[in-house]
């Protein structure tokens, strides 16, 4: 333990604690900008670059960055001396002097950390007039980039390289011209970007934002010739409330259904339903491969999950030699789209062209996923538009509604019923747990003695377990963050020494609950933790908690698909992958 004095208050902290954290402990909140931490989730960005958190340490020549300076025994720290306040204000004024002054039109208006900082410091004018950086604007199907707003916090760069190992973004140039960019300042869409959108989730300002599809959806809703069907992902219901001032971890499933109905959607369905369907397909595929191996035949193991479009794009770009590992099952979003546009459109007697399927997702990659060519019939997409949780919140507000005042309503039938297994898809380890519940019972023919596979729960980046399938040890792994996934793929490529049978991969920290389309968590991992707890609470409260027991799922196999991994489901519910790696064209 070290003892020090911060703003005349004695503080005692563990060795290795930064001044920033020690001060927080003492109730002193030093402002930061570039600093970003997801505590307990192995993500820390502290380049010490913005210099907003500088403090005065007695005996030191210059000011010290609180985020990167460790407390020392006997240190005397001032966080609000005249020298500090002047320096901090000048630094923020400098940052603002190279930042467009267009807060009112900015996507980040109200969520911007720089805006909050300027407000907190009471900055009324910027004394420095000078050149401002200008860059070409750019967008992919998911991410918009306006680097004029970049403050060089480098969070996106850290996220893209350290956590995701995607390597699409890097700091380029130097000095005043330094900025974060894809190689050669070309389009992000032409880079190794997988549209996971985590750069957007961590960006403190409006430099990286999502591609907004609200107007597309509003237009469809206003079109009387269209039947507009909406599906909403598991992770949305545990986070949407935050946008309306509710406590993180509030479950708003019923209010969500009510709000969607009031927005004018003709059918309010649930992606949870297709999550159950996914388990049927993926679980069957897993058992098929395992059985083959047990019978001495050749089969590719481990099976990797394929619900996460960021992850799918990642392995297509980076592991073209391993395209036969992931499950061919489509993601729940796309299964839903396929069922809606094939089965349900026919059922209600309309042409698929007259149906618009909208998804509400915690995700930015879903926007790119629904635009993939293989998920459309003659240019008509299975899922027409994908909105994020944040966009939905905006839309509810634009439509003059308040989620707090919504009644509790149910989803429509038949694509609205779901089990607890589907709910937990939203958290890392959830798909694995859901699949295990079903696969175990199908494989062994026995009822699970214990439904909660706690060994695959929690916020660790990589979790492994061996599950006893009645004498057969099934080795499973769960990881989030594409760098962890990369390591897993490389391990498998090198002979799968740990003998994994089944691996779940989610691109985003904590799984979909930490998705890039979720309300901004601003680095507070407690928010993600609370969303996770809510997810398991919702599961525990569900009457049915195993996908294969969902009566509507049982019914659709009976009525339409026949059996999991059967002929029709292969046609509609499965997909295949493409080698999208960089290749050399010899001139």
């Amino acid at each position: 333990m070290v003892k020090l004095i911060i703003d005349n208050r004695p503080v005692e902290v563990a060795e290795g604690t930064t001044i920033l954290k020690a001060a927080r402990q003492a109730g002193i909140h030093i402002p930061t900008l570039c600093y970003f931490e997801l505590a307990g989730m192995n993500f820390e960005n502290k380049p010490g670059g913005c210099r907003v958190c500088v403090v005065e340490v007695e005996g030191r020549r210059n000011l010290a960055p609180a985020c990167a300076t460790d407390c020392m025994e006997g240190m005397v720290v001032h966080t609000n001396s005249a020298r500090v306040l002047n320096a901090r204000r000048t630094v923020v004024e400098l940052i603002l002097s190279d930042h467009p002054n267009d807060c009112l039109q900015c996507e980040k208006n109200g969520d911007c950390e720089l805006q909050a900082l300027a407000k907190r410091l009471g900055i009324k004018e910027i004394p420095f007039k000078g050149t401002q950086s200008t860059y070409k604007k750019d967008c992919t199907l998911s991410v918009e980039r306006d680097m004029d707003k970049c403050v060089m916090c480098r969070r996106c760069e850290t996220m893209c390289n350290k956590i995701q190992s995607v390597g699409a973004l890097s700091a380029i140039n130097r000095g005043f011209n330094a900025v974060v960019s894809p190689a050669f300042e070309e389009h992000l869409g032409d880079s190794s970007c997988v549209n996971c959108g985590q750069c957007v989730q961590v960006c403190p300002v409006g430099a990286l934002t999502l591609v907004d599809n609200i107007s597309d959806v509003a237009k469809a809703l206003a079109d009387p010739t269209k039947t507009v069907v909406v599906q909403t992902a598991p992770a949305v219901r545990v986070a949407l409330g935050e946008e309306f001032g509710m406590e993180p971890g509030t479950i708003v499933t019923g209010k969500l259904a009510a709000a969607l109905r009031r927005l004018g959607f003709n059918y309010v369905f649930d992606t949870d339903w297709s999550a159950d369907l996914t388990i049927m397909e993926e679980g069957t595929e897993l058992l098929g491969r395992v059985k083959k191996v047990l019978n001495g035949e050749k089969a590719t193991l481990p099976l990797f999950t394929s619900c996460c479009p960021g992850w799918v794009s990642f392995f297509e770009k980076n592991f073209p030699d391993m395209l036969d590992y992931p499950s061919t099952a489509k993601s729940p979003q796309q299964m839903f789209g396929a069922v809606a546009k094939n089965f349900f459109a026919k059922k209600i007697g309309i042409d698929r062209k007259d149906m618009v399927v909208v998804s509400i997702m915690p995700c930015l990659a879903k926007k790119s996923e629904c635009a993939r060519e293989e998920f459309a019939v003659n240019g008509n997409r299975d899922v027409d538009f994908s909105l994020t949780t944040r966009e939905l919140a905006h839309m509810i507000k634009q439509f003059n509604l308040d989620l707090n005042e919504m009644p509790e309503e149910d989803f429509d039938s038949p694509l609205g019923s779901s089990t607890g297994a589907a709910v937990i898809f939203g958290a890392t380890g959830g798909v694995m747990e859901a699949a295990l519940r079903t696969a175990y019972e199908i494989q062994t023919g026995k009822t699970l003695p214990r439904l909660d596979f706690t060994e695959v729960r929690g916020l660790d980046g990589v979790k492994t377990a061996t599950v006893d399938f009645n004498g057969l040890g099934v080795n499973v792994a769960v990881c989030y963050g594409l760098a962890n996934a990369r390591a897993m793929m490389e391990e498998v490529r090198n002979g799968n020494p740990r003998g994994f049978h089944f691996v779940e991969v989610m691109a985003c920290p904590g799984g979909c609950i930490g998705g890039a389309g979720q309300p901004y968590h601003h680095g507070n991992s407690d928010i993600i933790r609370k969303r996770m707890e809510a997810t398991y609470r919702e599961d525990a409260g569900k009457p049915i908690r195993k996908s294969h027991e969902n009566p509507d799922i049982v019914a659709i196999y009976k009525e339409y698909y026949g059996e999991p991994c059967g002929h029709l489901s292969h046609e509609q519910l499965h997909t295949h992958y493409y080698d999208r790696s960089t290749k050399v064209e010899v001139k």
Binding site: R51, T69, R83, V91, F128, R174, G175, F176
Partner: protein, 597 residues
């Protein structure tokens, strides 16, 4: 066997090489052969003599005759007169600017009289590409001594006792630095030589590497032994091809002699050195940035701690010293700490090498004991200001340093006094300015450099320096206000206080020191809209004095804008609307008729 009677030392430093010293050497060899003297006279290509102003230098031994500004065509005369007939070639001797006498012996030249050469002891004396010459001067005996007679701790103690401080700029005690690194346990440690000399107008390190590469190799091995490192890396600018070549030759010779590699001198100590190339980034002189660059990353500094002594190259304990620091080490070991700490001033021991440049008569590389005054350097060694003009300022420490003025001339040079005067020792650039330099423009020049070289990582340096530059630009264009001067001061103070790395923190020094020492000039620019040095183009114009103009038309012919008109043999006139102030006419006019207003 005929005895060698004469050595001809010919400077092979970059400066002299640029003015044909290679051809001079060839010419010597040809003519000596022609005269049958090739066995009696040995021609040696050495490192820099330091007196670059008068290069190429040829020194004749043993009589110590010092020929300056030798051209290839002068060689025959030197051979025929000096070597064969023993007569000095007077017109190639150095002409003392004071008494207009030719001086033949370098010892009696003002330039060398006040110097004490420790780091440069072998520069200009040995053939740097011949390890035998180095050994016969006692090279590698320091290494031998530590390996056979001293414990690592004793080496660190000796260096600490000597009082040697880092010559790269900040002046951190070298022995203490080694001690910190020695303390950390690791399976691998590294010794890094910072040879990324990025200060514009400084070439000390380059000259040492070109003139005495073995001293660096030896010192790195000594350091390796004392801190427990077996690997050394030299981070050297790719723009220094000759220094790279000489180091490569020296490393391979040292390996051949077993002075690098396994089991050096039978002691069981292994050490080897590799080169890493810088790619043009001033900030890589900062040790954490340098380490990142060696790791194949952008050369951005990181916050310290952790210090490289704890986590450096590849996250292993690493000791980084600069070239000149290392060059002092072997001789401290052989001659002892007590010998070394008698030289210099109270808190700064030994000598310092400076690259003396600018508006001074004797441009060159000098080494003086710490505590020598600026006046001694500028007037006695430097031979005073060029063209008899007035001294105005001297800049030390490059972009991190400041501009000192007449009142500082008697400042004794050491780390602390320069810092106190608002400048910095820096790596050793020393640029002398006279009345033709505008101090606002000089501050702007340095800031332009800093802006160009800022890594862009921290906001104060990335944006703050840019804003300061914009304000200075405004002032030099005559649009500045007194509030701007206020803002400059505030910004400079905040950048100093908040920038991430040493380079950012010192980047406002040129501005702050000129504000302090040349306030009047700033005010003149702002209030009177006048640049007394005639440098700021927007604040001056050219006029033809009709009294002096004879109407020769030379000015009109060189004017790129056709801005000058006039009848032949009549006074001409400049159209200031067309004039771009390139100054071509001013330089062309032989009659001084074109005046700066």
């Amino acid at each position: 066997m005929t005895k060698i009677k004469t050595h001809v030392l010919c400077c092979g430093g970059t400066g002299c090489k640029a003015s044909a010293s290679d051809q001079i050497i060839d010419e010597f060899q040809n003519i000596l052969k022609e005269k049958g003297l090739q066995d009696e006279v040995q021609v040696i290509r050495t490192g820099c003599f330091g007196f670059c102003e008068k290069g190429p230098i040829v020194k004749m031994l043993p009589d110590n005759t010092f020929y300056t500004q030798v051209k290839p065509t002068d060689v025959r005369k030197i051979v025929e007169e000096h070597i064969i007939k023993g007569r000095k070639v007077t017109d190639l001797l150095y002409l003392d600017p004071e008494n207009k006498q030719h001086v033949s012996d370098s010892k009696h030249m003002g330039f060398y009289k006040k110097q004490l050469r420790i780091a440069l002891r072998n520069c200009g004396f040995i053939n740097p590409e011949n390890i035998d010459e180095c050994i016969s001067r006692g090279g590698y005996e320091g290494l031998g001594k530590v390996l056979s007679e001293m414990t690592p701790q004793q080496v660190i103690d000796e260096i600490t006792k000597s009082g040697l401080r880092g010559r790269g700029g900040a002046g951190f005690p070298t022995g203490v630095k080694w001690g910190l690194c020695a303390k950390n346990k690791a399976d691998q440690k590294y010794v890094v030589c910072n040879a990324d000399e990025g200060d514009p107008g400084a070439f000390m390190d380059r000259s040492i590497m070109e003139g005495d590469p073995h001293s660096i190799i030896e010192a790195m091995a000594i350091c390796g032994y004392s801190i427990g490192a077996t690997k050394g890396l030299v981070y050297i600018r790719a723009e220094y091809p000759l220094a790279i070549h000489r180091l490569q030759v020296a490393i391979s010779q040292a390996r051949e002699y077993g002075l690098l590699g396994k089991d050096i001198l039978g002691s069981g100590f292994d050490f080897d050195i590799e080169l890493r190339y810088g790619a043009g980034a001033f900030v890589c002189g900062e040790e954490t940035a340098l380490i990142h660059s060696m790791e194949g990353k952008r050369g951005e500094p990181t916050f310290k701690p952790p210090f490289p002594a704890v986590s450096g190259y590849l996250e292993k304990p690493t000791n980084v010293n600069n070239v000149e620091t290392f060059a002092n080490v072997p001789i401290i070991i052989t001659k002892g700490a007590d010998w070394f700490n008698k030289i210099g001033s109270e808190k700064s021991k030994g000598t310092k090498v400076f690259a003396l440049a600018g508006q001074i008569n004797n441009v060159g590389l000098i080494e003086v004991p710490m505590g020598t005054t600026l006046r001694e350097i500028i007037y006695e060694i430097g031979g005073g200001i060029k063209g008899g003009r007035q001294f105005k300022a001297v800049q030390t420490g490059g972009p991190s340093g400041g501009c000192l003025t007449t009142k500082h001339l008697d400042t004794a040079i050491d780390y602390d006094s320069l810092m106190a005067a608002g400048s910095m020792m820096g790596s050793g650039g020393m640029v002398v300015m006279d009345e033709t330099s505008c101090m606002v423009a000089i501050a702007k020049f340095y800031l332009e450099f800093t802006c160009e070289e800022s890594c862009g990582k921290c906001s104060p340096c990335r944006i703050g320096n840019k804003r300061m530059l914009e304000i200075l630009d405004k002032i030099t264009k005559g649009n500045g206000t007194m509030e701007d001067l206020q803002e400059l001061r505030n910004l400079a103070g905040v950048i100093k206080d908040t920038a991430l790395c040493g380079l950012g923190q010192t980047s406002p020094n040129p501005v702050l020191s000129t504000l302090d020492n040349f306030w009047d000039e700033y005010v003149e620019h702002v209030v009177d809209k006048k640049c007394r040095a005639g440098v700021c183009k927007q604040l001056m114009h050219y006029e033809i004095n009709p009294e002096k103009c004879i109407g020769c038309g030379a000015c009109a012919r060189v004017c790129p804008q056709e801005a000058i008109s006039g009848e032949k043999k009549m006074a001409h006139h400049i159209d200031n609307m067309k004039c771009i102030k390139c100054g071509a006419c001013h330089e062309k006019c032989k009659f001084g008729a074109i005046e700066i207003k």
